[in-house]
Symmetry: C2
Subunit: 231 residues, 2 copies
């Protein structure tokens, strides 16, 4: 198609553009719609033009990983590393951005959670910044990787929860004999937690997802950096 329009095919394609287009397709039409043919159509080039840049679908996953991970905001971590203070708050902001990105891309979680980072340079850069911040915040090197993985597990699970329906634990649907569960569900509904997502304008988001995320993240960071950490 591009050739018909007289544009030079090659300039339309780069590894970065391939990754971004792959993310667009996967986001809009689901991950199964992501084929080399669909990618070529999206970029307006012949499939053969893609193969000048990548070897095939396996390599495409690495570019896709880079494209989605680049959406995660690491700038608070970079600022903390520059100034030498505020690591804990920066890790909170990073984790929140990471959750928000994957709340908008939940179908990618199974892929990304199992995708080695070897051939994804921008993804490696994100982890490098996080690892440096963890070290600088006083986390012993032998615990850095495991604690990043624990945070990621929590982040991915929390991203699913953003997409859960608000009536996941509807008090009205809980049987009378389940009194402790009923009390817990009522208390959550009555709490302040139910307004946060709405405030952010995420109209379809589960309004009860933010409080558990904030509380759990606080516990994880307490465990990693110490509860009285001013890091």
């Amino acid at each position: 198609m591009a050739n018909e329009r007289g544009r030079p095919t090659e300039s339309l394609v780069s590894r970065e553009k391939i990754g971004d287009a792959a993310l667009d397709i996967a986001s809009e039409k689901g991950y199964t719609a992501l084929t080399m043919a669909a990618l070529a159509r999206r970029l307006g080039v012949a499939p053969s033009a893609l193969y000048n840049h990548i070897s095939g679908k396996d390599e495409l996953f690495y570019l896709l990983q880079d494209a989605v991970m680049q959406l995660v905001d690491v700038s608070p971590l970079e600022r903390a590393l520059e100034s030498g203070v505020g690591y804990r708050r920066a890790l909170e902001l990073w984790a929140t951005s990471y959750r928000d990105v994957f709340a908008s891309h939940t179908p990618l979680i199974p892929l990304i959670a199992a995708q080695p980072i070897g051939d994804s340079p921008r993804t490696q850069e994100m982890y490098e910044v996080v690892a440096r911040a963890m070290e600088a915040a006083g986390c012993p090197p032998e615990h850095v990787m495991g604690r990043i993985i624990a945070m990621e597990s929590f982040i991915y699970g929390s991203a699913w929860d953003v997409n859960a329906p608000a009536d996941l634990f509807d008090p009205a649907a809980i049987a009378d004999e389940h009194s402790a569960l009923g009390r817990a569900a009522e208390a959550m509904r009555a709490g302040a937690g139910g307004t946060t997502a709405a405030k952010k304008g995420q109209r379809d988001a589960n309004p009860y997802a933010d409080q558990p995320f904030r509380d759990g993240l606080e516990s994880l960071l307490d465990g990693m950096l110490g509860p009285s950490s001013s890091a």
Copy 2:
């Protein structure tokens, strides 16, 4: 088919059997293979026999949820509630069982994480036992639901990690300029964490998944029940 063999169709079908068969199909062939027709074939009955028990696929999800949640071992929580001690250890065992069940059923996570519990009585029972144990361990009622949700987010994410490849963070694939990440990945590989899953005989499981899960769970429980809790 059942009728051809002269067996009474109705006795082959119950809501529980339908749930178990749905779980078998989803586990073996993936969630998209779970149709009313496939379910009828699996149970050896005519599709019409299913509709005597359930209204359709929406209701099927509730039975499927009950079938998988019933695999999670709540007996440590029940024993703790009987004896009045050992809640924290019991919550650890429950969370570990929950993770292990979903590590074997990761394709169900997106479904279960977004499935209201209203029409799943056995699922409600699990949450009731957990909520009672949390209350008994001293968790304020207004925090019970949120903390269960936070643990579940961590559990679901950790279940994905069990299925991640061992070379997810392969030190050899990390670029030299990413020195903090390289150190972290090397340290994880050198640590004792890499043997646990193999010991349990989960041949294909990620050998680096257990340590992050144990550490993260400890932090979450510290945050929920207090670090010095003997609950």
